[in-house]
Symmetry: C2
Subunit: 330 residues, 2 copies
């Protein structure tokens, strides 16, 4: 994945959305969008039509808003497009599925530059194409001054049964695939104007790249519960605990490598916080029957009788991001 | 359909979204959402899982933004929820399909009142339930001050082949099912502070109610091309003409009843404009082989050799709504 810093922010000079009519804008966007074998009817008609071989379809939706989910100073349009793919496709993967198609809605101040929309489309189309995902439709809507929001719906298919959050069993291993805390650490570095200290973390914050194929692989390996880490390891583990009516006991001894990896960038306390509570990581968290953790996954705890989440035996109330709260926890 | 005027505008007093955390808000929303036989996994996990009996799924998305798509002075949250269902389900119907499920994203200023969100949910859930549609997922995101936007994705199923815009044949009849110009006329009355002159038109503007079942029925009757009227009869007819590489000749003599119906409310010129160019109607426009127009549909023109749209033999450039244009035509 390349994430260049050359594209322009949304409010930069050049033509704006108000300078093009909708058809002209769509003519610029459509050719960039990847198709795929699942697409029976693509963009341009009333709806898309997708093949759903298995006789069922997974569906999820996730939005990003400028100023809340990204800042133009820190993220290009291309980053935003890539991140939209990641957060939606990770949800499909977390059910054990493969994403087949995306629909994208842009709600934008007409003063938004066409260049930004082109960059976002480039990033979204590239990330989708790399993952074998078609982009099959969308909508454009004008918005009040300063507003730029994107909403993506992802559709996907399962090979077998879905892996829900509610299937964890006492005695299961709790395991992670992918990084922990990189997105949060990258954000901290941007906030401290220290992006050069760890460009890989910053890059991951801007455009996470979870291993989507691990979702179906975990399902085939017998995962009993799974989700992707959107709001932090502790909080998301709490969701599995609640849905499965179990306790999840996390062990920071098993997270030592994850924490150690971040210490040079954000210090010891920052590293621990990022690993335990950092959101937007989109790595997969799953439970597996004892001794059933697949290669490439690493155990981070166990499933016990009880409720909630413990960290090294201490009950925690969580942390992580709440969209509408007056004060968000870090 | 009842559209009471009792619910509060989005910025009214009472608790706001900032007073609840996301889980508390979702706990208020989830119980209102209709399920259905197509839902294998509903809201609350990473994604929904829907049955797709036919082995394929229709997918479309459409957004509404406060200040552009509705004004709080004129539309309640319930109206907005109903309109969201209508505009998305009409797109599925226009392919000849039946809507099975919706996903809903709310992008809102945290100062938005919880009461407005509850009203919107009520309207959306009621309109969905009346049409046999499940609501299976969504997303919540905070937005800059003053912004309130909703994005809905609709999924649906086909009994047979999809009816595209591109199948119209020279010699076909062009026909409409449902009203023409009511939404635009209702908007004009609101703009003129004359809503009491024709409450039925105003009600239709606030919450259109197309006959979704006519889409599959038209498909079964041999419709060669179809769409729903989102941007005005002339402009949408132009879309079929372009996609099918034909000319569509509209005859206002066939629209006399439609125009006459609106004259008392908006005058003769206004009535003609509303019928020909009024958007957001979501009635169905379709082409049928000669003598194949189903009962309940009425012919409004014919398909000819050529391109574009004529009205009584005169070529027209259209009209209708463009989302980002500096000056929208009425």
């Amino acid at each position: 994945m390349t994430t260049t810093r050359t594209s322009r922010p949304a409010g930069d000079a050049g033509p704006t959305l108000a300078d093009l009519d909708e058809d002209q804008l769509l003519e610029r966007i459509f050719p960039a969008l990847p198709g795929g074998p699942a697409v029976l009817v693509g963009p341009g008609d009333d709806t898309a039509l997708l093949r759903a071989r298995s006789g069922a379809v997974l569906a999820t939706t996730d939005a990003m808003v400028r100023g809340r989910d990204w800042l133009d100073e820190w993220s290009t349009g291309e980053d935003v497009g890539r991140k939209l793919v990641a957060q939606n496709a990770a949800d499909i993967a977390a059910m054990g599925g493969r994403t087949t198609a995306l629909l994208v809605t842009l709600v934008a101040d007409p003063a938004t530059s066409v260049a930004w929309v082109s960059d976002m489309t480039t990033g979204l189309a590239a990330a989708a194409a790399e993952a074998g995902i078609a982009v099959v439709g969308g909508d454009l809507s004008s918005a009040p001054t300063g507003t730029l929001a994107l909403s993506v719906t992802a559709l996907g298919e399962l090979d077998g049964e879905p892996v829900l959050r509610s299937g964890a069993q006492v005695g299961d291993q709790v395991a992670v695939h992918g990084t922990l805390g990189w997105s949060a650490a990258g954000l901290l570095l941007l906030q401290r104007d220290s992006a050069t200290r760890a460009p890989d973390l910053v890059r991951y914050h801007r455009a996470p790249l979870p291993a989507y194929e691990e979702g179906p692989r975990a399902a085939a390996s017998g995962a009993t519960a799974m989700l992707d880490i959107s709001d932090g390891l502790v909080r998301d583990a709490g969701r599995i605990a609640k849905a499965s009516d179990v306790r999840i006991a996390l062990d920071t001894g098993l997270l030592a490598d994850d924490i150690g990896r971040l210490v040079p960038a954000v210090g010891a306390d920052g590293a621990r916080d990022c690993v335990l509570t950092g959101g937007e990581e989109h790595s997969l968290l799953a439970c597996f029957p004892r001794a059933g953790v697949p290669s490439g996954w690493r155990a981070v705890g166990v499933v016990q009788d009880g409720s909630g989440v413990t960290v090294d035996g201490t009950v925690t109330v969580g942390g992580g991001w709440d969209h509408f709260a007056r004060r968000a926890t870090p």
